[in-house]
Point group: C2
Chain length 347, copies 2
């Protein structure tokens, strides 16, 4: 089993290093690692955020453990050379369309949320975000209007096949959880959303046991603050999923705790914390590695089919928190390596 | 001075009636009212959500006091006949491009928010949302892919002129407040956002006294939960503004409290609560009319140039709350008319 390690930019190398220590401690037979360059780090080294060797490694690997990309030094580069193109390129080239972002409060951290404790502690939801389509990947560019004005444009679209396959992911996830699926769109304004809604309704015929509801994205953003405990699984498109999952992560308390998986049709997956590269704290040992450790756990569960080992990682993280391990984002003083130590001690 | 009253659907008529009572109590000389049909109510009566007589009245009026549109009976109509087309059509036809959505906690309601009291009570922000462009008004439709699949599409775009005029609104609003402007976009993915950011930076040269920052929309959704007190004025596009302003409203406690104004170049304006038509509680006297009353206040301030009268309305709402007036959404038992009575008593 080959794992590609892509640390990337900013705090990426620090947090991936801790997740690797935890994986090493599990001593899983037959697992091997190869490291690749992505993001601003790759651009600086070889002139491209997703070099061909990296892409080739990603395709060969059973799973990718990803840190983060994003580097302010690269802000003025042409779009196709920016760090973010690494993650967008990997999602596209490997067909990684199903982005799973669970949000659940660890009881020890319920008071870290800006939400009232009784509101925050009810959160146990999963956002299933489509990551191969939408306005992210449509034709886009700069052009001139007939009057000669500069105009930026991006085409948003989904076809029925794209919606159908992510809808199935959403329904299946709901079936494995509490049986509730909320599809989020903006069908009162967007034709893309209207097709989305039509197809989700068609697919629902296969899942009579799942309770399906629909919500406009503006209302969903509101409900995620008002009463996030009402949600089980949310299925939505690439752009709305980007916004709502970051919002949900903060409802949970710290974005430093949230893991994600992005799967393709053959369960090959990319695993990453949902936070970014945090250039402001890079290299200072302040980053919380737990989201990356938990992402490694998701990797064992979804791509390597090692559920017991995944459970061990999750239990170790919970125990480390229960034992009082707190990084800066959680109101504590432990550095990145000490947080790794705490998980290892709990293992 | 002519005010067009457009009650619309659901709770619209009930809440507009209370705002009208408050306006009447001010006995403003020279003000007159004409009522028009919009939304599902207009469709049911005359077959179109924005009939020509309504549009004509809107154009003649100095200001529009709007209730809400949206009616589940109309969900399966063709898009151009749905209730939402009334508000979209008015924004477009009258050039109402600058949507101002203030969010501030009334001290009496700080504990109504799902956010911790210390987080919620720091909120005092204004969202300046562009409402004449973006993916709302681009070409859109259903088509077939080359393989024959159904596909929905919507073109997102902004030109420099559209961005420039809303950027000026944002900077001017910031100058009149605490001097901080945060422009929200998704420039790491969208060309529309890249143009947005470029033009906002160009415009900033005229406002050296305003501190400008930029934030990606996913991060903004997160920060609005984590620490909404950090924001003064947020300027953003139509779609992101839709999502973030609803989210911000819930951070404040109840969407039943938030007013909005949408202005064009000649200060003609449409004034509406930011909540919707709430068909589930329509006709039951459960709706909170305060957002509409406060919208009437904004109307006096921005379109009728009657700041003292606007202050009177705002003070009366604050006093009614201080005196204990609470509708259902605020945890109380007062009905819509009783809430109106409370404001009148406080006037
Ligand atoms: C870095 C950026 C392109 C990316 C996205 O918008 O998808 C990130 O925000 C995410 O959510 O993974
Ligand atoms: C009703 C709908 C079309 C509208 C919008 O999305 O603009 C509403 O949500 C709003 O925010 O005014």
């Amino acid at each position: 089993m080959l794992i590609a390690l892509f640390p990337g930019d900013g705090i990426g190398p620090e947090i991936v290093a801790q997740a690797k220590r935890v994986l090493d401690a599990l001593a899983i037979p037959g697992i091997r690692y190869e490291e690749g360059l992505v993001g601003g780090a790759a651009y600086k080294a070889v002139g491209h955020p997703l070099p061909p060797e990296t892409l080739e490694l990603a395709k060969r690997a059973d799973a990718i453990l990803f840190g983060a990309v994003g580097d302010p030094d690269c802000d003025s580069l042409e779009r196709h050379l920016r760090p973010e193109q690494a993650i967008l390129g990997l999602r596209k080239e490997l067909g990684l369309f199903s982005n799973l972002r669970p949000a659940k409060v660890f009881p020890e951290l319920a008071d870290a949320s800006a939400l009232k404790q009784e509101v925050a502690s009810a959160i146990d939801l999963l956002i299933v975000r489509e990551t191969n389509g939408d306005v992210y990947f449509g034709e886009k560019g700069m052009r001139r209007t007939p009057e000669g004005l500069r105009e930026g444009y991006d085409i948003m679209s989904y076809n029925e096949e794209q919606v159908r396959r992510i809808a199935h992911q959403g329904f299946q996830a709901a079936r494995a959880r509490r049986g509730k699926l909320c599809s989020v769109d903006k069908a009162n304004v967007l034709e893309t959303s209207q097709l989305w809604r039509d197809v989700v309704i068609e697919v629902s015929a296969d899942y009579p046991d799942v309770a399906l509801s629909h919500m406009y994205v503006d209302n969903a953003a509101m409900q995620l603050v008002r009463n996030p405990g009402q949600f089980d699984v949310i299925v939505t498109g690439n752009l709305f999923g980007d916004i709502l999952s970051d919002q949900a992560s903060m409802c949970v308390g710290s974005i430093g705790m949230l893991a994600s998986a992005t799967l393709n049709d053959s369960n090959q997956g990319l695993y990453e914390p949902i936070h970014g590269s945090a250039p402001d704290i890079a290299g200072q040992g302040k980053a919380n590695p737990l989201a990356t450790v938990l992402s490694a756990g998701m990797m064992l569960r979804y791509s390597l089919n090692l559920p017991e080992q995944a459970d061990r990682i999750e239990a170790a993280v919970a125990k480390a928190l229960a034992d009082g391990a707190r990084s800066f984002d959680l109101g504590g003083t432990m550095n990145t390596v000490e947080m790794g130590d705490a998980v290892l001690a709990a293992l």
